[in-house]
């Protein structure tokens, strides 16, 4: 701490703090314009001029660090004159069009001039002409209003790490824009530049001319797109969500957002929303009342229970619902219906990671912090295009790497994050397990493992050694394309880490043997001592925002709330006691088992919340067929989906913007969301629907509000924690050699000669799930999907940019536009899973995981040719 004097007041501040910040701490406001607490000091606008004793001329407070005995004056006629002068300079070419500027009311320049003058400019020469460009799909650029604070340029570079913007030309000719001053930003569209611009030079097309800032209501909540769980506020007026804003220091995201969070909100007010319950009369869905709809559902459910038993009913819920929704759903299914046939979107792959983690850490709650990622010294990022799938987690990785952390990236394609990597390992698709086993092998055989751990877990490590011995580095290189040297280098770096972090994504969790691979990665953590110590982490990424919650609340046949084992009488007892009703003992069905059950005629009724299997499953699959075979289908959703069309009853649910509750992000952090607007139309929050149904089913679950449910959840989870078990890792390392061997099995997939290309479906930055497709922002940026293909492959097939490719296999054929990119390796194709048309998904087959019954349908082998358009 140092002592200084500001305006005759003695102020204490940490040594080296910026004078602006020290003054602020002492309650003294120094006006600033180019300064922003999130950015490095810049000193471009000279508005923060202050007098510091013993220094010549006025000094910029935003670039001056405090020191002992500094004597500072921030208010004097001299300073007032300087400020006024600087503002007149800033306004030299300004159009003074505040009445029609979107920033009016929250413009820092307007406020400064209002406070310090001068409203008058002496400059009388010709006004410089600046770029006014409204061609970008989202961001309008009106540089006549720009004050050249470079906050946009700096945030894009320093915080986002994208460095898309620059200041070009010089002096009074300076302009702001992307490469070559282009019209289209063509970037990640995180919107940070728009948010940080102090004036109306960069504005969002989506918000433009909608409202003045003081007319909107602000509600803090959590993003509903991905598992990062970013915090932001919805600004609303008269039931319309108008924009998303953030505070720079708040939430895991510290004010940053990705494009989905920032610009993906308008699905909430989309006119296509379901606004009333619908029932099928003959073949058409007709609106009805809640009372009638719930009556019908309860009646049909009761009849089915009577005739076929409760296990003839099953339910599937999305990971976009709140914990309260999901908790009540599984309680409804288990108690009001009486079945464990419950599953969620986590079955598409996230369940693999969580089951493996639970296997290793036991009843302890799984937590991993994104701060640990940002502060790591070594990060191993495996099989994820992280900056696209979970952009804010990606930002933390970028930040760590920029700070000097060793970043090792392994993926089947060249990803954006790799440009910050010290090792960018492009592994062949399908060889992920060879790669991970190679790492384990290198750690053990080269003696990189933790020597202390070896003392404790000698048997375990020896067993592993025996198992990986059979796999040679030569074979690993053949399969993965990664040399022995590179594998050893990666293994060494990770082993030597003090704060080692492993991040893994869909390429592991949503692929064959995802559970086993997750365990293998956990082994890697255990033997290198990177599992329990502070600052280390293993983090599976999840793409739906509350997949963690879906599992923790117990929306899975194998898990009760708090990850208790639904198969264990002891565990069922714990929760039955709190619920005061017995949980059925019969083992429930997972998602693929549910669909098989329907085909076999065992499952008669399905209750689907927020999922759209008819629109996402490959049409040639048995699962798709199963949907047509149901006696009774209930769909609860925001939008009329393809599955709704097959339903007997459709219930309109409220979106995240209309409800209270909590979401649990990938870190295991439960965060509150708050209703910003009233439910759209006659929609209701999901939990209220379950509550209403439960009453009609004769098992009333009555809660005043979401908070009351949360209280019960807290009680249940506390109940689980009291279970108390010894260190679970101690148990895990006792895994027998035989079992371990099974965990280290590898199955090779071979492309059939006729279909030599591997096609993968996956998430992309601008879309996630179906909600983004109903939002203007993401649709404007990316209206349609494109098939990514390697330039050499394209060359060979005679395909050029703008062409369509014809994909074929036994399941059918699809035409799709291509994007030629050397990010894709030869032989691999990628298509964004979000787009339902053209139905590329129909080429895929459904694979079911042996261990967890996770169902995958994101890949296929195909033949490709150039599509010749007919004339």
């Amino acid at each position: 701490m140092v002592k200084l004097t500001i305006n005759n007041k003695i102020v204490e501040a940490p040594d080296g703090m910026l004078l602006t910040e020290a003054a602020k701490m002492a309650g003294i406001e120094i006006p600033t314009l180019c300064y922003h607490p999130e950015l490095q000091p810049y000193g471009g606008c000279r508005l923060c001029l202050v007098r510091i004793e013993k220094m010549p001329k006025l000094q910029t407070a935003c670039t001056t660090r405090v020191c002992d005995n500094m004597v500072v004056t921030t208010e004097s006629p001299e300073i007032a004159k300087a400020r006024k002068g600087m503002l007149e300079f800033v306004l030299t070419y300004h159009p003074l069009d505040c009445p029609i500027c979107d920033k009016g009311g929250e413009c820092e320049l307007q406020n400064l001039v209002f406070k310090f003058g001068s409203g008058f400019r002496r400059y009388a020469e010709d006004i410089e002409e600046y770029t006014i460009d409204t061609n970008d799909p989202l961001i309008d650029r009106e540089l006549d209003r720009c004050v050249r604070c470079l906050r946009c340029v700096r945030v894009c570079d320093e915080v986002q790490g994208v460095t898309n913007l620059t200041a070009y030309n010089r002096g009074s000719h300076t302009e702001i824009g992307p490469f070559m001053g282009g019209s289209i930003f063509d970037c990640e569209y995180c919107g940070s530049c728009v948010a940080i611009c102090p004036v109306g030079a960069l504005t969002s097309k989506l918000f433009k001319y909608k409202a003045r800032p003081w007319q909107t209501k602000r509600t803090d909540t959590i993003c509903t797109y991905c598992g990062c769980g970013c915090q932001f506020a919805l600004e609303t007026r008269d039931g319309d969500v108008l924009r998303v804003v953030t505070d720079y220091e708040k939430g895991v995201n510290e004010g940053s957002l990705c494009t989905r969070g920032r610009f993906g909100y308008s699905f909430v007010n989309n006119k296509k929303r379901l606004t009333a319950p619908l029932i099928k009369t003959n073949t058409k869905l007709e609106p009805t009342s809640w009372d009638e709809a719930t009556d019908i559902i309860a009646d049909r459910f009761k009849k089915i229970i009577e005739n076929n038993g409760p296990d003839a009913i099953a339910g599937i819920i999305t990971g976009h619902c709140t914990n309260e929704d999901i908790y009540l759903f599984q309680k409804f299914m288990r108690l009001a219906i009486g079945t464990n046939n419950i599953d969620s979107a986590a079955r598409f792959g996230y369940v693999n990671a969580m089951s493996a983690i639970k296997q290793v850490i036991g009843s302890k709650r799984f937590e991993a912090s994104l701060d640990d990622v940002a502060n790591a010294d070594v990060i191993l990022s495996i099989s994820t295009n992280i900056t696209e799938v979970n952009p804010i987690a990606g930002l933390k990785v970028r930040r760590a790497a920029k700070r000097g952390a060793v970043l090792i990236v392994a993926d089947v394609q060249d990803t954006d994050i790799a440009k910050f990597a010290s090792q960018n390992l492009i592994i062949k698709s399908g060889s992920e397990r060879w790669f991970i086993h190679g790492l384990v092998k290198a750690v053990i055989e080269k003696g990189f493992y933790d020597k202390k751990i070896y003392k404790d877990y000698k048997k375990f490590i020896d067993n592993l050694e025996n198992i990986v011995k059979g796999l040679s580095f030569k074979e690993i290189e053949e399969k993965t394309g990664i040399s022995e040297k590179d594998i050893i280098e990666a293994a060494k770096a990770y082993s030597k880490a003090k704060k080692g972090v492993i991040i893994f994504g869909q390429g592991i969790t949503h692929q064959q043997d995802g559970y086993k691979s997750s365990l293998n990665l956990l082994d890697l953590c255990i033997i290198t001592g990177n599992i329990d110590s502070k600052g280390t982490a293993i983090l599976p990424l999840c793409d739906e925002n509350n997949e963690y919650g879906a599992l923790e609340m117990g929306a899975a046949p194998e898990f009760l709330s708090g990850f208790l084992n639904a198969g264990a009488a002891k565990d069922r007892e714990i929760i039955s006691k709190i619920w005061d009703k017995k949980i059925p003992a019969k083992k429930g069905l997972t998602m693929p088992e549910i669909f098989n059950g329907i085909l076999k005629g065992k499952i008669k009724a399905l209750y689907i919340i927020g999922e759209n299997p008819a629109g996402t499953f490959p049409q040639k699959s048995e699962f798709y067929e199963a949907l047509q075979k149901l006696d009774f289908l209930v769909c609860q959703d925001l939008f009329p989906t393809a599955t709704c069309e097959l339903a007997d009853v459709v219930l309109p649910a409220s979106s995240f913007a209309e409800k209270d509750g909590t979401f649990t992000n990938m870190e295991g952090r439960a965060q509150k969301i708050e209703a910003a607007i009233n439910p759209v139309g006659d929609s209701r929050p999901d939990w209220q629907i379950f509550s209403a149904l439960s009453e009609k089913m004769g098992y009333p679950m009555d809660y005043d509000n979401a908070d009351a449910i949360l209280k019960e959840i807290a009680q249940v989870i506390e109940g689980c924690n009291s279970k108390g078990e010894g260190s679970a890792i101690e148990n895990y390392v006792k895994t027998s050699v035989k079992e371990l061997r099974a965990i280290y099995e590898r199955k090779e997939e071979k492309a059939p000669a006729k279909f030599p290309f591997k096609l993968m479906l996956g998430p992309v930055l601008f879309h996630s799930g179906k909600l983004s497709g109903y939002s203007e922002g993401p649709v404007r940026i990316l209206p349609e999907g494109r098939l990514k293909i390697n330039p050499n492959d394209a060359d060979r097939l005679g395909i050029i940019e703008g062409d369509k490719a014809l994909l074929k296999n036994a399941n059918g054929e699809v035409k799709v536009k291509v994007e030629i990119t050397d990010r894709m390796p030869e032989g691999l194709l990628f298509y964004p899973e979000h787009f339902m048309y053209p139905a590329v998904r129909n080429l895929c087959k459904i694979d079911i995981d042996k261990d967890t019954k996770a169902n995958y349908f994101k890949s296929a082998f195909v033949a490709v040719e150039r599509h010749v358009p007919e004339h």
Binding site: R170, P178, F179, M180
Partner: protein, 165 residues
């Protein structure tokens, strides 16, 4: 260091250019710092710095291309547009102006038949104005490509241009 994709598009440093850059790399703390010499080499080799050249420099140095663009447009000695064989740069700063830079400029415009910022049809001459070139003592002056011509008069200009043909 060479990126095959870019080469296809016709932008690649010559061996000598690349060697100079590699040599310099040893003396510079980061590749950002190499931006100025790299742009200079690019200008020498490609004639001027268009988007392809800037992208090439960005790829070679692994510096974001927006930064390269920002730097290239900041310094007037980098040419982002094609110029004639001879770039005639007339100083119009204080000393030169006092000693008739205005007149010199008009004379050049008339003689070459182009306005400031333009290039002659035969692509021989491009005429631009620049700020003080530090040759005030011999004002008025102009620089053609890398050569200074001082104490300019009409006859002097005639002679100089003649010599350049």
């Amino acid at each position: 260091m060479e990126d095959t994709n870019i080469e296809k598009k016709g932008y690649a440093f010559s061996k000598e250019g690349m060697n100079i850059l590699k040599e310099m790399m040893k003396d510079y703390p980061s590749s950002d710092a190499l931006l100025l010499p790299a742009l200079y080499i690019a200008q020498e080799e490609f004639g001027h710095l268009d988007s392809g050249a800037l992208q090439y420099v960005a790829d070679v140095l692994k510096v974001p291309r927006s930064k390269v663009f920002g730097v290239a447009t900041y310094y007037t000695m980098y040419k982002t547009k094609p110029t004639g064989k001879h770039l005639v740069q007339v100083c119009t700063n204080l000393s030169c102006s006092l000693l008739g830079a205005d007149h010199i400029l008009k004379y050049l415009e008339n003689k070459l038949g182009i306005k400031v910022g333009e290039t002659t049809h035969d692509k021989k001459f491009t005429l631009i104005t620049v700020e003080c070139l530090g040759s005030c003592g011999t004002a008025p002056m102009m620089q053609v490509n890398d050569t200074y011509y001082e104490n300019l008069t009409e006859e002097g200009i005639d002679r100089i241009l003649e010599g350049l043909k």
